[in-house]
């Protein structure tokens, strides 16, 4: 074999040497814009000779008359041009409109859908969703089969769940790996956690919201293991590439601006005061005393806490491609107001991308940089709010006759007016993402690339509940409580790769191999304060200053008393453990010194203060390689391997090997295939990928640390001592997902109907679970790889049909549908999950992780109605054969172009899943109205008694099937004169969430209440639980894009 290859090589090389040469020059231009296209491959057919165009599209090549130039450029139709006697060959290239020629980033390289061997997808900016977009995932929601994108709530900047081909992992983050311009991002949040100042916690915001959607050129998705394995241990959930816009054209200024109006899309039908059914008579109906509940006012509290929100965003960019320097600079500002009072997101971004070539274009240096600041304001809404609920819960249950006076005494209940007046939470995050690459052509076909990536951010969250807050949890009333959380993230990437392209034998070999090292540092401070005696009504700024000032003062004193680094500090009038009272203490934790030191605390404006520092660093070191070999552009082979070493594992399992292989056959290239098929391609692949996200820092070694610190409801501070936080376990290892996939891509009728059909089967094993430790142990839980399997099996169909294709009118229909079946196998235990919250619902849960069931399977009481006394007829809690995971996921788009007008509509739908209506369970029961809390009108006629228990029941489990008209947009390209101010001017209008078809009785079935990890039952994530979710808005946007 080696002999054969060698001899073939010599033949090829001989061919080069024998060529009779003269020089031909030319310029390759974009048919659309007339601008030169840089980087176009100009090759001599049947040889390995070739060149690429320079920055303005020019090339020069040695050829002989009888040869033919093959001009290829991804995204454009390939052209073959016989040289003949010409000395100048100018070529105008037309974009390839076939879906299959779409460029897709595959990691350490790019290809087209047509040439890819794996299940990959790409969405370019022209197909992005419009309107108010908080984060890049929303741009491609519903555009791709097998990719389920769910916003966890309607809050600006809220987290987004992205699932590619089902849910693999039990406790890990199931989001894919995001790679921005070649830099893989850490999956962790960059916004500091929010302290619980009375309403529990929320899983925090979306780590990708630092990117302005206007700066994004395209999003590519690797769906199967054969393509994703090049990212090895982080690829189990797929890979999503975000490519930002680069400098192009001869210099153009672009301005875009839009304004949006949002309102709550839905509200509950609550009992009224002046309109029936009447609240007061309902109180009487359930045994209460209406007169005692009548406070004389008439408020629909839902209207009090929501608002019509006006948002706007602006983006200004300048882009130019030139020999000297190609660059694009942009500045964006966006102010998104939430439809709930006191919530919103403000984003300021600056981007600068540049690239320049040196050494006769052999060296290309590129810089991509983002600088951003995101300010998030959050309303008092918590995914783990206690039994009284949060702002929305109180708006639903508040007595409508209460006044809007924040100081009104509700007698134990939360008042929406009081909450709005006495809570503020602001988070801000500054982030820099810079990536510098040097691309060097060492020899023909051989290139080297060095990438340096830096991702640095600093996030700060301050949450305040004032002393005038009423009935907040955690001893807030009369005292006030504030949280200050800081997180600094510093991730660095060094990556070196070589790529090699060679005609080899009958085919073409394309290889890349490299080394990568990435470090992830996270450190910060979690501090809180209690007892704000200086607070004057409404002065949040003063309260914040008191809190931050006290923390800074104590931080300094603690460092002094510790003589250097320390872990914790605290000060207050009631230090427990027999320590000196009225003092400050510092817990020092270094290998030289472990001690609790005391110091005299100065007079502060906050009675009790605690702070706890953390400092984690994880490292990942990898080698990777991929080889593509294509024969006659018909048979495509791909093999990849990645070897990852991670600091999260002990010596025994520190390194993971993740191989994959794939094969594709482009049958349409075969002579025997009828011309009917423009494209017909079969693909199959198999690969192994990993996941280590579910495992935190340092869970494989025995570590000691001071215990958790907090301020009690009465301001008391228990001084922690030390204890082990983990046991040594050198056998901890990666979660592993293997995936087999099979697919067909096709295009027929002159490329007018194209699509793909895919089948896949994934098995995730060695599940990282936080299991009950075999007691006695230092912890109740221990991380262990569990010998169970999560299986995801399904298929996907995507179709695109260009129904009308003419000079003036184009109409296309595209849609996708996917089905996924999820099941956990070989699992011995049963782990409860899915906490249900609300009055009388402590310890209640709705899901169990168990063998033979899908993840997020409901385990609830069957419900057979109410008996004659109005008590529920109930049974034991049991599996009811329903899961929160959608079985069917689909998207459907219509695009119409008529002259300068364009119109698009996009529908999304999910089916086969169930939503637990925790809001109804907690608030809309007969027991609630019997206690004087407002309810929805249907409660009056349900037959339920006021003394009935509302346990977790099938009664609150509802189908989550829905179809949503997610987006409708109409745009008009204003005709511009060639000498005018504008090169291009487009105005558009857009409507989001225009209607929703569903049987779900809550406000919106697309929900997922998501408390922070520590508030999750057994730390298992939840899905499908609707507990006072942030109402989803209906949004109308008008905007313009202008190019000068």
């Amino acid at each position: 074999m080696k002999q054969l290859l060698l001899s073939m090589l010599f033949v090829l090389i001989g061919g080069i040497v024998l060529a009779q040469n003269r020089t031909v020059t030319g310029r390759i231009t974009d048919d659309d814009s007339g601008e030169g296209l840089p980087g176009v491959s100009v090759a001599i057919k049947g040889t390995t000779s070739g060149t690429v165009t320079d920055i303005d599209g020019s090339f020069s090549i040695s050829v002989s008359d009888d040869q033919t130039l093959v001009i290829t450029y991804v995204g454009f139709t390939t052209q073959e041009i016989p040289v003949q006697s010409r000395s100048v060959i100018d070529v105008s290239m037309a974009p390839d409109i076939s879906e299959l020629s779409e460029v897709v980033i595959v990691g350490y390289g790019q290809t087209t859908i047509r040439d890819a061997t794996g299940a990959v997808a790409a969405v370019s900016s022209k197909d992005f969703n419009g309107g108010v977009i908080s984060s890049p995932e929303q741009l491609i929601q519903g555009k791709t089969a097998g990719v389920q994108i769910t916003s966890t709530s309607g809050a600006p900047g809220a987290g987004v769940q992205l699932r590619i081909r089902g849910t693999n992992s039990v406790r890990s983050n199931n989001n894919p790996l995001f790679v921005v311009d070649g830099v893989p991002l850490a999956g962790d949040e960059t916004t500091a956690a929010t302290s619980n100042v009375g309403f529990g916690t929320n899983g925090s915001s979306n780590p990708l919201n630092f990117l302005d959607p206007n700066d994004i050129e395209s999003v590519s998705i690797l769906k199967d293991a054969s393509s994703a394995a090049i990212y090895g241990s982080r690829a189990a959930n797929g890979v999503v590439f975000i490519t930002t816009k680069k400098g192009k054209g001869s210099g153009s200024l672009e301005f875009s601006s839009s304004t949006s109006i949002s309102r709550a899309a839905n509200k509950y039908d609550l009992l009224g005061v002046s309109e029936g059914p009447y609240f007061l008579s309902a109180v009487g109906q359930f045994g209460g005393e209406p007169a005692a509940q009548d406070f004389g006012y008439d408020n629909d509290w839902q209207d009090v806490v929501t608002r019509t929100a006006v948002s706007h965003k602006q983006n200004l960019s300048y882009s130019k491609a030139a020999e000297a320097l190609s660059y694009r600079a942009s500045f964006g500002y966006e102010n998104q107001k939430g439809i709930i009072e006191n919530s919103g997101m403000e984003r300021i971004t600056g981007r600068f991308n540049a690239n320049k070539s040196f050494l006769n274009d052999d060296l290309n240096i590129a810089l991509q940089s983002t600088l951003s600041r995101v300010n998030l304001e959050s309303a008092p809404i918590g995914g783990s709010a206690g039994f009284r609920g949060d702002l929305l819960g109180s708006a639903y249950s508040a007595n409508p006759t209460w006044p809007r006076d924040p100081n009104f005494d509700t007698g134990g209940q939360l008042s929406p007016a009081n909450m709005l007046a006495n809570f503020r939470s602001n988070a801000n995050t500054n982030r820099v993402l810079v990536n510098l690459t040097a691309d060097y052509t060492i020899a023909e076909g051989l290139g080297a690339k060095l990438t340096l990536g830096l991702d640095k951010s600093k996030g700060e969250t301050i949450a305040l509940s004032t002393p005038e807050a009423r009935n907040f949890d955690r001893g807030t009333q009369g005292n006030g409580r504030g949280g200050f959380n800081e997180i600094n993230v510093d991730n660095n990437l060094v990556e070196f790769s070589l790529n090699y392209t060679k005609e080899l034998g009958p085919g073409k070999l394309d290889m890349v191999a490299g080394y990568s090292y990435q470090s992830f540092s996270r450190d910060g401070l979690n501090a809180e304060g209690w007892g704000f005696s200086n607070y004057t009504s409404g002065d949040f700024e003063g309260m914040e200053n008191d809190l931050v000032g006290a923390i800074e003062t104590l931080d300094g004193l603690a460092a002094n008393a510790a003589n250097g680094f320390y872990q914790q500090f605290g000060a207050g009038g009631d230090l427990r453990n027999g320590a000196e009272t009225s003092g400050g203490f510092v817990n020092v934790l270094t290998s030289e010194n472990i001690a609790t030191n005391f110091f005299a605390a100065p007079g502060l404006n906050v009675s009790s203060i605690t702070g706890d520092r953390f400092d984690f660093k994880d490292k990942l070191q990898s080698g990777f390689a991929r080889a593509n070999y294509s024969i006659s552009e018909k048979y495509l082979f791909t093999g990849t391997v990645r070897v990852d070493g991670s600091s999260r594992f002990g010596e025994n399992e520190r390194t993971g090997v993740f191989p994959s292989g794939a094969f594709a056959w482009i049958a349409s290239e075969e002579g025997f295939m009828p011309d009917f098929f423009n494209t017909l391609k079969f693909r199959t692949g198999y690969g192994k990928v990993g996941n280590q996200d579910g495992l935190g820092f340092g869970n494989f070694v025995r570590r000691e640390r001071y215990g958790a610190i907090s301020i009690g409801d009465g301001g008391e501070i228990n001084i922690p001592g030390t204890s082990s936080v983990a046991l040594a376990n050198n056998d901890l290892k990666w979660e592993e997902t293997t995936q087999f996939s099979l697919g067909v891509d096709f295009a027929v009728f002159d490329d007018r109907l194209s699509g793909s059909v895919d089948y896949y089967r994934k098995e995730t094993t060695d599940l990282i679970l936080k299991l009950n430790a075999a007691q006695p142990a230092p912890n109740p839980f221990i991380f262990r790889n569990f010998d169970a399997t999560v299986e995801n099996q399904g298929w996907e169909v995507a179709l695109n049909f260009d129904a009308i294709r003419s000079d003036n009118v184009n109409f296309s229909i595209s849609g996708n549908v996917s089905r996924n079946k999820n099941e956990i196998q070989d699992f011995g235990g049963q782990i409860p999950a899915g906490t249900i919250r609300g009055q009388g619902l402590s310890q209640a849960f709705s899901q169990i992780l168990a063998e033979g069931q899908p993840l997020f399977s409901y385990f609830v009481r069957e419900f057979a109605g109410f008996d004659a006394e109005g008590q529920p007829i109930r049974d034991n809690q049991t599996f009811v054969g329903k899961s929160a995971l959608p079985v069917w996921n689909s998207g459907f788009s219509l695009n119409l172009n008529v002259g300068d007008w364009d119109l698009s509509a996009y529908f999304a739908g999910q089916f086969g899943h169930y939503i637990y209506n925790n809001t109804k369970n907690a608030f809309f029961t007969a027991g609630a109205i019997a206690n004087g809390r407002n309810v929805t009108t249907d409660v009056l006629t349900s037959g339920e008694s006021g003394t009935a228990e509302a346990a977790v029941s099938e009664r609150f489990l509802e189908s989550g099937d829905f179809v949503r008209l997610q987006n409708v947009a109409i745009g008009y390209n204003v005709p511009v004169s060639s000498g005018g101010v504008f090169n291009r001017l487009r105005v558009y209008a857009n409507a989001q969430n225009l209607f929703l078809i569903t049987d779900y009785s809550g406000l919106d079935p697309e929900v997922s209440s998501s408390p922070a990890q520590g508030d999750l039952l057994n730390e298992l994530p939840t899905a499908g639980i609707d507990y006072t979710s942030y109402v989803r808005p209906r949004t109308f946007t008008i905007g313009l894009n202008a190019t000068f």
């Binding site: 045994g287 209460g288 005393e289 134990g412 020899a443 051989l446 009333q477 009369g478 060094v494 070196f496 090699y500 191999a513 490299g514 450190d523 009631d574 427990r576 027999g578 472990i594 609790t596 660093k617 991670s646 002990g650 520190r654 820092f697 070694v701 025995r702 000691e704 009465g714 301001g715 008391e716 228990n718 001084i719 001592g721 030390t722 204890s723 082990s724 046991l727 040594a728 376990n729 056998d731 009950n772 430790a773 075999a774 007691q775 006695p776 142990a777 109740p780 221990i782 011995g828 049963q830 009055q839 009388g840 402590s842 310890q843 029961t925 007969a926 206690n931 009935a948 228990e949 977790v952």
Partner: protein, 545 residues
């Protein structure tokens, strides 16, 4: 590695001209050097930035870094375990005739977790059964780490750790009948061995005996939030008193009972004594009865039963309207069976409920002990937290707040059903940080019981206590009288289940107990939690579960 491979491939594919090859290699070497430079600095070892890392591989133990700090954390954890109204407290009290948590409409359903305790229908998946198992076993392990000689703990640290281990192991042994044990050396994948009840009992006695000399001999006073000789003697007395339950003999041995008497005598010698003024004991003032307290808030015990409209200035949100007692327990006390206002003939320990004549700032309108009938409360509080006035309270729907003796059942209750029980009073604050765990009157009654079980009489000792509490003397004290007296003196102080089991009464019938569980002796032990069985195959489920 990667580099070498690439050199070869490169070499193999580019053997055209020697000169160009050399040229390329020069370029290549620069990059190679850069790569070597980059990689040499990369280690995958974990940094000691956040916590102290024990440098050994799994399976060997070189001691804890700071034994004193770890002892602090152990007692922090024990305090946390004892602070809550659920878990350990609920398993000892809600499972008995002293307390129940009725479901009131939608309130306090809590997935049935309270009802199954009271009805004796709990299962191995009951959350409290799991939590208590985890909580106290965890402290056993942490204490073992400190006790291990490789930790080089001071004599005081080790003695405190031994007490902590004995106390935690006592709870596991008493509740579950078997105790898993892990050596500090054992790696995470080692399945802990399992001590029988007798082995665990012996280990508890040994720990306490060896801790005694190194514990301080403090009498009543400050500092009793850490174990003293008296605390160790108290726990020894508890162990000996119950020995016949643990070793299965069924009958108390005179030797064990003598140990009880000796241990209580030793406590008395340290200066502890009965003290008059029953409800003054449950404050943070120094008294002669408190042997061991934890600096836990008492708010849970105050507010878990009080109604939402019963408030104090440090809790204007009011109570949580949960826990009540059974009328049959209330009826154990002398006094008017239907009301408990001043002058109803009750003994001191039953407490009293204010009415319009005596609701004032010293009681906030909230009673002491057993709250039955119409309740009073403050109309509000001024800026200094002083009550603005007092009124007869209503419940939330507007009905007069009259606590009833009887309940319709475990479910279907309104806000007013059931007698409430409080020992710590809101007027003393919920955050006083003084929750009594070992009390001398318990020791006093233990000695009386030991004397009775040795064939002597307990009457004098019991009547000594009753006299101080303002109760009529008893003519004679049989076993059942002693159990009742312990109920009257020690209600909601964590011991009711232990007492009922020792007197063979835990299986008897009481209101709302499930008929199927009456007489089921297997209920004397809690099941091994199902999750624990999964995690350690050495454990065998207790009979009947």
């Amino acid at each position: 590695m990667v580099l070498i491979k690439f050199n070869r491939i490169y070499n193999f594919l580019n053997n055209t001209s020697m000169t160009s090859q050399l040229k390329y290699f020069k370029r290549f070497d620069v990059l190679a050097l850069a790569l070597v430079f980059v990689t040499s600095s990369c280690s995958l070892d974990i940094d000691e930035s956040d916590s102290l890392i024990t440098p050994e591989s799994s399976g060997s133990f070189t001691g804890v870094e700071d034994p004193e700090a770890q002892v602090n954390e152990i007692f922090n954890a024990i305090r946390g375990n004892l602070e809550a109204q659920d878990n350990y407290f609920a398993m000892q009290e809600v499972s008995t005739d002293e307390l129940l948590v009725p479901t009131r409409g939608t309130d306090w359903g809590d997935n049935g977790i309270w009802r199954t305790l009271h009805a004796h229908t709990w299962t191995p998946s009951h959350a409290y059964v799991l939590n208590v198992w985890n909580q106290f076993n965890q402290e056993i392990f942490r204490a073992s780490e400190v006790i291990d000689s490789r930790s080089n703990g001071s004599a005081t640290d080790v003695a405190q750790a031994r007490f902590a281990r004995a106390y935690s192991m006592f709870i596991i042994m008493d509740n579950y009948g078997q105790v898993p044990f892990r050596e500090p050396d054992a790696a995470a994948d080692v399945n802990p061995s399992v001590l029988t009840r007798t082995e665990a009992y012996n280990m508890i006695i040994a720990d306490l005996t060896s801790a005694l000399p190194d514990l301080p001999a403090s009498g009543p006073g400050v500092g009793a939030d850490r174990p003293t000789k008296a605390s160790a003697n108290f726990l020894l007395a508890k162990a000996y008193l119950n020995a016949h339950v643990y070793n299965g003999s069924g009958a108390a041995s005179a030797a064990d009972m003598q140990e009880v008497v000796d241990a209580v005598d030793a406590i008395e010698d340290d200066g502890f004594a009965l003290q008059a003024g029953y409800f003054d004991l449950f404050t943070d003032a120094i008294d002669t009865e408190t042997i061991w307290f934890v600096t836990a808030s008492t708010g849970n015990n105050i507010w878990n039963g009080l109604h939402y409209n019963q408030t104090s200035s440090d809790n204007e949100g009011g109570g949580w309207n949960g826990f009540t007692t059974l009328s049959e327990f209330y009826d154990l006390f002398e006094g008017d069976p239907s009301t408990n206002n001043v002058g109803d003939g009750q003994e001191e320990r039953r407490g009293w409920v204010p009415d319009g004549s005596n609701a004032d700032a010293t009681n906030l309108g909230i009673g002491f002990g057993f709250l039955v009938g119409q309740q009073w409360g403050s109309t509000g509080y001024d800026d200094d937290g002083v009550p603005t006035g007092f009124e007869a309270l209503n419940d939330r729907p507007g009905n007069p707040l009259v606590f009833t003796k009887e309940l319709p059942g475990l479910v279907g209750n309104n806000e007013r059903n059931g007698i409430r029980v409080i020992k710590y009073h809101p007027v003393n604050g919920a955050f006083a940080g003084h929750k009594i765990i070992f009390r001398y009157s318990d020791a006093h009654l233990m000695r009386a019981e030991a004397m009775l079980r040795m064939g002597g009489s307990a009457t004098a000792e019991v009547n000594e206590l009753r006299a101080i509490r303002g109760a009529n003397a008893l003519g004679g004290v049989a076993e059942s009288d002693l159990l009742d007296e312990r109920g009257r003196e020690l209600y909601i102080e964590y011991w009711r289940r232990n007492d009922l089991v020792r007197f063979g009464q835990f299986t008897k019938n009481w209101s709302f107990k499930d008929g199927g569980s009456v007489g089921d002796v297997n209920r004397n032990l809690y099941p091994i939690p199902s999750n624990a069985l999964l995690s350690n195959p050495n454990l065998v489920q207790n009979e009947g579960y």
